[in-house]
């Protein structure tokens, strides 16, 4: 054997893959356009775009991303004041919303669509048409064999066709040969896979345009009605309309978290009563991690939780000026949590407190520092610093619930912190008091509606199915040619040539070929003289 056998015959192309783009000879006006299009839909371009896509995603995998964690982006910018503005200019903190990233995947999908349409047409034709005519020389194929027989050409071809058909090959006679093929599902699977990729993108786009996501903090004993205004934070899709929100409402009756000895969370459980609309009766449900509440197109997830101590503040004359549960935001894994208590309706000056809630409280006897050693409320305490003055609420500027505007406030008791265990009070100098009554909890919920989810799931099934067909099925072709080889001495003789090729796994195919030719030799026995 000497050189590479150039098997470039159409017969040996076992895939609808676009061929490498060659020079285009057309002298039409549209030629440059056509060339660009062929270039775009070529395998090489697809490959380069895939690499670009992977490359483009890398900064998104290392740098903090705004969509995930805006706080960390700001931290990063503070740490890298020189570099960060440049990164920001290149959208590297919003990679997956960046125009250049969109350009890459949109080009890829244009390429994909442009390459799929002709491939589907080709494959549909291949499915209808008989397997292709035998190439010129079967012995040049990766596997081949030949022998002489006394049977006539007609007998040989008929026997070969039968034998192949019984092996579930698609086999037809074409001229002096039988063409056979098996494993069409490989190409079908490949096309299903690529089409499903397009469908997946459609599903994602539908979700991004028509979907909705909102989060809300709900304290135990209070309720929530699904309306845009009631959320703390919303992310509506560009085409989302308020009317498509499911009219659900629920109340949080009880939230419970359990922890191991080491303080690691074991279970979270939010007991709610919900109704799918204003008229329906309330029904109980446990929202847990991995166990959201489904109501129509909406799903309600448990996102986070924290403590809300119940606090009573009395006025100078002893009347109750404030009696609420105050949500505190956890600062660490042991649930040291911060909150503010604002009491605007008082006789004299307005009163406010900065509070730190600690579920399992320990106080350092030397420094007086208060911390928590466990996330469960085993010995809860509220440490407060008091203020008197003007809260700035009446100015009409909505302040945050979690921070105090201290500009017109003066500290009570020179800003000393007072630790209150459950039931304890602090009599404020100058009248009034604050009491830490007991501990309740809150939970944050996320309500999502994603109308593209079903499409994406369907596409995912297509992707996996298509891939399995495309990678595990072997497509192969086989030809049996019969050539009369009379030497003019009377007895008819026929040379049987068998050749085949497979797209993958040549070893397995070689074994299969061996076995097939064995069977053919039984049906078309070699001449006595040739038998060893």
């Amino acid at each position: 054997m000497t050189t590479t056998p150039e098997i470039d015959d159409a017969a040996v192309r076992l895939s609808t893959a676009p061929e490498p783009v060659g020079p285009l000879r057309s002298r039409q006006l549209l030629a440059p356009l056509r060339r660009t299009w062929r270039q775009l839909t070529s395998m090489r371009t697809a490959l380069q775009l895939l690499f670009l896509l992977a490359l483009g995603a890398i900064p998104g995998g290392f740098l903090p991303q705004r969509s995930l964690n805006p706080v960390r982006v700001n931290e990063y910018k503070a740490q890298h004041p020189g570099l960060a503005p440049w990164l920001d200019r290149l959208s590297l903190f919003d990679v997956f919303a960046a125009p250049w990233f969109a350009a890459v995947y949109l080009l890829l999908f244009v390429s994909l669509a442009g390459c799929l349409v002709p491939r589907i047409r080709l494959h549909a034709r291949a499915l209808r048409k008989p397997p292709p005519q035998a190439p010129g020389t079967l012995t040049r194929l990766p596997v081949s064999g030949s022998w002489e027989t006394d049977a006539s050409v007609e007998e040989v071809l008929e026997a070969a066709r039968r034998a192949l058909r019984s092996g579930r090959w698609r086999a037809v006679r074409r001229g002096n040969a039988v063409s056979a093929e098996k494993g069409y599902l490989r190409e079908t699977g490949n096309l299903i896979f690529h089409v499903s990729l397009v469908v997946l993108l459609v599903g994602i786009a539908v979700g991004a345009f028509y979907g909705f996501k909102g989060t809300v903090l709900v304290k135990e004993g209070t309720g929530f009605a699904n309306a845009v205004l009631n959320f703390d934070d919303i992310h509506p899709g560009r085409r989302f309309t308020e009317g498509s929100l499911v009219p659900l409402h629920f109340t949080l009756d009880d939230f419970r978290a359990t922890y191991g000895e080491d303080g690691k969370a074991r279970t979270f459980d939010a007991k709610v009563r919900f109704a799918p609309n204003a008229d329906a009766p309330l029904r109980p449900y446990d929202i847990r991690v991995n166990h959201p509440l489904h109501v129509g197109a909406a799903k309600v997830y448990l996102l986070g939780h924290g403590y809300a101590p119940r606090v009573v503040v009395r006025d100078v004359d002893g009347t109750v000026a404030f009696d609420q549960t105050v949500p505190c935001l956890p600062q660490d894994t042991k649930f040291v949590s911060n909150c503010t208590i604002k009491v605007p309706d008082t006789r004299g000056q307005q009163i406010a407190f900065d509070g730190v809630f600690t579920p399992t409280t320990v106080q350092d006897p030397a420094t007086g520092r208060v911390t928590s050693t466990h996330p469960a409320a085993q010995s809860p305490a509220l440490t407060v610093v008091g203020f008197r003055g003007d809260l700035g609420i009446d100015a009409g500027v909505p302040g945050s619930v979690y921070t105090l505007d201290r500009r017109r406030l003066t500290p009570i008791d020179s800003g000393k912190a007072h630790l209150l265990a459950t039931g304890q009070s602090w009599q404020l100098p100058g009248g009034g008091s604050i009491t830490f009554v007991d501990t309740t909890e809150w939970a944050t919920f996320q309500v999502t509606q994603d109308p593209g989810k079903g499409i994406a799931l369907l596409a995912s099934c297509g992707i996996v199915l298509g891939l399995c067909l495309s990678l595990f099925i072997r497509r192969r072709r086989l030809w049996v040619r019969a050539v009369p080889a009379g030497d003019g001495t009377g007895t008819p003789r026929t040379v049987v040539e068998v050749g085949g090729l497979a797209r993958t796994d040549p070893d397995t195919f070689a074994a299969e070929f061996e076995e097939l030719t064995g069977r053919l030799r039984e049906k078309i026995p070699p001449r006595e003289a040739d038998k060893e």
């Binding site: 054997m1 690499f51 998104g60």
Partner: protein, 322 residues
């Protein structure tokens, strides 16, 4: 039980290391035999395996297929690998029993199970004649290093799962991810060896100087066979990885309310996926077959390692449970 698991892992590493030495010894004796035969072989013309559609796999006849030679050292090493595999399996199973859940809840357990998958893949492929046992030393070395690192740096005491991981989708998701990862790591090793071997062949044909690490190529199976082995392993692992990502999406949808959010872990899984898709494409693209495709497979394996180790340790995200 947890203690037993740790001891078994240690024993498995020792047995694997012995197997590695056995394989290396096997290589040495084979090489000694081959050195005598080599000058004659160099003159032989190269043979072409034309797989239409696939790459034209040139197989220079520099070395005869070493698989046909079966030295006692190789058989012993293979036996040791199988023994190590049993002990390794025992370690993973007892770990699962000790934790009372599937043993892939943290990086330590994930690594042990992925290594088990890689060794399983190697043994299966050798048994089915798809991979030459001559690869043994080169496969066992990374396995020993990997398990050694897992057992020391990543070691985690048995503990329960955090609530977000408590779902049957995670079992499916991680089972698929660990299977695909093990296979991908194996394919990465094979692709690297292919690169060494094909460079070795090239230099041999050109008659140019051969230095380390290219000289390792002498002991390796034929380039075409390595190329095919890498493909077989990736073709198996890619759908499994795809499924793992989808199962992860279904789980994320139940746990976090969105099926995809470009969390660092998700981003790196995506990069890995795209690179392996690139590998499969490259093998069907003119001008990309062979060495370029192998480099893509190596890059994809690196992305996988970043996905699991660098992201877990250095990048903050929702997945930071380990």
């Amino acid at each position: 039980m947890a203690h037993l698991s740790d001891s078994l892992l240690f024993a498995a590493v020792v047995v694997y290391a012995l197997a590695m030495l056995g394989f290396a010894g096997d290589q040495a004796t084979r090489r000694a035999r081959r050195v005598l035969a080599e000058p004659a072989l160099r003159a032989a013309p190269s043979r072409v395996l034309a797989g239409a559609g696939g790459p034209p796999l040139t197989e220079p006849a520099v070395s005869p297929a070493p698989s046909r030679e079966k030295g006692w050292a190789g058989s012993l090493a293979l036996g040791l690998t199988a023994l190590g595999w049993l002990i390794h399996l025992g370690s993973v199973v007892t770990r699962g029993i000790a934790a009372d859940r599937l043993p892939w809840g943290n990086m330590y357990e994930f690594s042990c199970t992925a290594a088990l998958v890689a060794v399983t893949g190697f043994l299966v492929l050798v048994a089915r004649g798809k991979v030459d046992r001559g690869l043994g030393a080169f496969v066992m070395l990374p396995v020993v290093l990997y398990l050694g690192l897992a057992g020391t740096v990543l070691y985690t005491k048995v503990g329960p799962l955090v609530p977000a991981l408590n779902s049957y989708w995670i079992k499916i998701h991680v089972a698929a991810a660990v299977t695909a990862s093990g296979a991908f790591l194996l394919s990465g090793v094979i692709a690297l060896l292919y690169l060494v071997r094909s460079r070795f062949d090239e230099r041999t044909v050109a008659g140019s100087a051969i230095r380390f690490p290219v000289s390792l190529g002498r002991a390796l199976p034929a380039a075409a066979s390595l190329d095919r082995s890498a493909y077989v392993v990736i073709a198996f692992a890619f759908p499994v990885w795809t499924f793992a990502i989808i199962a992860g999406g279904i789980w994320a949808e139940a746990a976090w309310g969105r099926y995809w959010g470009w969390d660092p872990k998700e981003t790196w899984s995506f990069i890995t996926w795209v690179l392996y898709a690139g590998y499969l494409h490259a093998r069907a693209t003119a001008g990309w077959k062979g060495r370029k495709a192998a480099w893509v497979a190596v890059a994809a394996a690196v992305a996988l390692i970043i996905d699991y180790y660098v992201v877990n340790i250095f990048v903050v995200g929702l997945h930071s449970y380990a």
